[in-house]
Amino acid sequence: MKGNMPTIRIEATSTTFYEKISLKGKLVYSTQQAAKQTLIEIFKRATKDVYLWDVSELTFMDSTGLSVFVYLLKQETDKQKTFIFVVSDNETIEKLFTIAKFDKLFVFVKTERDAVRWLSRQQYFETVNG
């Protein structure tokens, strides 16, 4: 007997200022281990200090999914990395991040443009451009 199992799709692109990682599908108990491995590989290749996570198409996430971000953050603590989450209109995921108090660890914005504005306010671009 085999039912439908959840899936997750991860896409990573490197822009001038940040690494953009899009997560689509379900980041849950059954997918988190594979997702973590993929993300570790992406992190190994990454060259920027900012990770922009597009979670707007994440349809479901549980506590094990949340833990993936904590794990990755803990790997990067000595490297001054910033995680910015783009939630768009995904209220369910945004609510979960809020309940879990992740706003104390990460930056949350509605759109990628908001993320760029946030980085400008932090004078991040000047730092990158020297």
Binding site: S30, D62, S63, V70, A100
Partner: protein
């Protein structure tokens, strides 16, 4: 009042099935916070699967039981498993802990999320001497 009992293998497939089951049920009975109910039951099922995985042998009857009661004003859920390892102490500890306290922890967030999302969670002694995790949400 409706009552349903679901007994299934304690494996990852059961999580997906129970998600769909609770989601459909919440839709049918117009539960106000459907995503919260689905996630809470999902977290309880994960705990059961992990307990069975750690404590039961492969050839044991590794099952979990989901009981749902839908009343006029609230939904009550009980989740139990063949490992019967319900960490009563862990639940008691979680009563005093907050999600801020586990911010950088990679586990132990499930019960705290359930407590935030549901109106009540507790340990329910069953007739056969085992325990179930009970939770309640107003419709």
């Amino acid at each position: 009042m409706y009552e349903m009992v679901l007994r299934c293998p304690a494996n990852a497939e059961a999580i997906e099935f129970c998600d769909l089951f609770i989601d459909s049920l919440s839709s049918f009975f117009a539960v106000l916070d459907r995503p919260a109910l689905v996630l809470s039951v999902h977290e309880a099922i994960i705990n059961s699967i992990e307990a069975v995985r750690k404590l039961c042998r492969e050839h044991d009857d590794n099952t979990l039981t989901l009981f749902v009661r839908v009343g006029k004003e609230e939904v009550t859920i009980f989740v139990s498993d063949s490992a019967n390892s319900l960490p009563v102490q862990a639940i008691e500890n979680r009563r005093t802990k907050q999600l801020e306290d586990v911010l950088l922890e990679e586990s132990g967030r499930g019960l705290l999320l359930m407590r935030e999302l549901m109106d009540d969670i507790w340990v329910e002694p069953l007739e056969n001497g085992t325990y179930a995790l009970g939770m309640k949400m107003r419709r």
